[in-house]
Amino acid sequence: MRADRTVVVGASLAGLRAAEALRDEGFTGELTLIGDEPHEPYDRPPLSKAVLSGWLPADHTTLPRLRDIDAHWLLGTAATGLDVPGRQVVLADGRRIRYDRLLIATGTRARPWPEQAGGGLRGVHVLRGREDAERLRAALLAGPHRVLVIGAGFTGGEVASSCRDLGLAVTVTQRGAAPLASALGGVVGRAAADWYRDAGVDLRLNTTVRTLEGDSHGRLRRAVLSDGSTVEAEVAVVATGAVANTGWLAGSGLAVDDHGVTCDATCRVLTPDGAVVPEVFAAGDIARWPHPRYPGQLLRLDHWDNAVRQARTAAHNMAHGGHRVHQPLPAFWSNQFGVNCKSVGLPAIADQVVITQGTLAQRRFVAAYGRDGRLVAAVAVNSPRVLGGYAALIEAGAPFPPVLNAPDGPPQPTAVDAEFPRRSTAATAAATAATAATAATATAQRRPVMTAHP
């Protein structure tokens, strides 16, 4: 057992659970948690739903502390640099925190709207943290005539849904042909388009926002769309995906970019040439790693479940010098427009999809996703109880289409093209990520970000 100095940078879900897991694993040394927000670790998923709709105050999202961790907490203190040879984290106030072992868990942030396209206007929002949610909530309470949501991924859908709950007029633009298409494909995406429209959302597909325009006081007034039309709106919510909080790692010699920090399957961070950086680990939304189930690529999962599980794996390996491999079956959920949507596996790698239970029109169905004749994912809409069975089939490498003979299944299940936006290069994958929303986080980008292995 190691008893020295461990520093966790990032005090959100992954950082907190990693700290608890370190103590669970018997780590008795000095433990420091560094977080840039001046709050105890809180949960992000409710921000786009219960908080925005007003049912839950933003400060009622603080995560429970599951055990004592006897840590030094440095909250409201951003890490601004990392000195790998000197084993020190540099803080914004100039302090340097020495470590023997480091966990990087600084997550992601909402991709901002470009300044030159109106990103600096008052009324333009993103939704990632507690203050974002409070600001947006206040803007919605002011009674805008219309809210524009840019991006119909998970966060965009949840925000639009909350706005409709508040009785606000909403326009949503979506680059692709359907909401959620990059995460769930066009077949389920078209069903989701009906959720939007039945809720009264003005949904503009295959449409992007060219620019946001304001009045002489710098307040948002309208958006000019790619088809030349304009939408008058006083509030815009930019829900075009997330970028990794890796700025503080620039020049550190670690393999980092906007997509995250690259580590191996045991959560050990790598250099750009693939060497292990001694005693530096990563977990949560920021980590990209080679998942043994998905060879030939690096996976990043902005999922609540992944933040918790990768934190535990990293903590185990940190505490014991172990080599436990992080290979969870991906899982996430989203609630929007009165629909509960849960997923296991990795829909985005599928080529085909089949409805195995219920029907799309009923809003109660299971879509099974296949690739090369194997079941790789299942999405359950308003049917959360069946997913465990599908997860077991996916883990077992069951054939696709799966033979289920479900009593609520269609008489003749027919597999069709899953209709994912074309995945050609890493660059395109990154670009289409802009259409998805954020898990661990408001909301989390549930779409896994996959890029070719370097």
């Binding site: 105890e40 949960d43 839950l56 502390r65």
Partner: protein
């Protein structure tokens, strides 16, 4: 000596991957949990000590054991003196 729980520290989180919408928590602690629409569980992470009994009942009643309660006894990180 019994462990003392500091006041106003009742905290909870639901693993919504695990949750299967049985709704037992809504019956056990209706001031803390609710369904928004038919299928979307929402809850208060910090409902206050007065709700502790019902929240503990809810956690015990959950058929998939998706509700976790805070169990730390040390002071909150934002209380004075934690930044040593």
């Amino acid at each position: 000596m019994t462990k003392q729980s500091p006041p106003d520290t009742l905290r909870l989180v639901v693993d919504l991957n695990r949750c299967q919408n049985y709704g037992q928590c809504v019956y056990a602690a209706p001031t803390v949990f609710r369904f928004h629409g038919e299928e979307s569980l929402e809850y208060d992470y910090a409902p206050g000590e007065a709700a502790r009994r019902e929240v503990e009942r809810a956690a015990a009643a959950c058929p998939v054991q998706a509700i976790a309660l805070g169990a730390a006894n040390e002071p909150s990180p934002l209380s004075a003196g934690s930044d040593r």
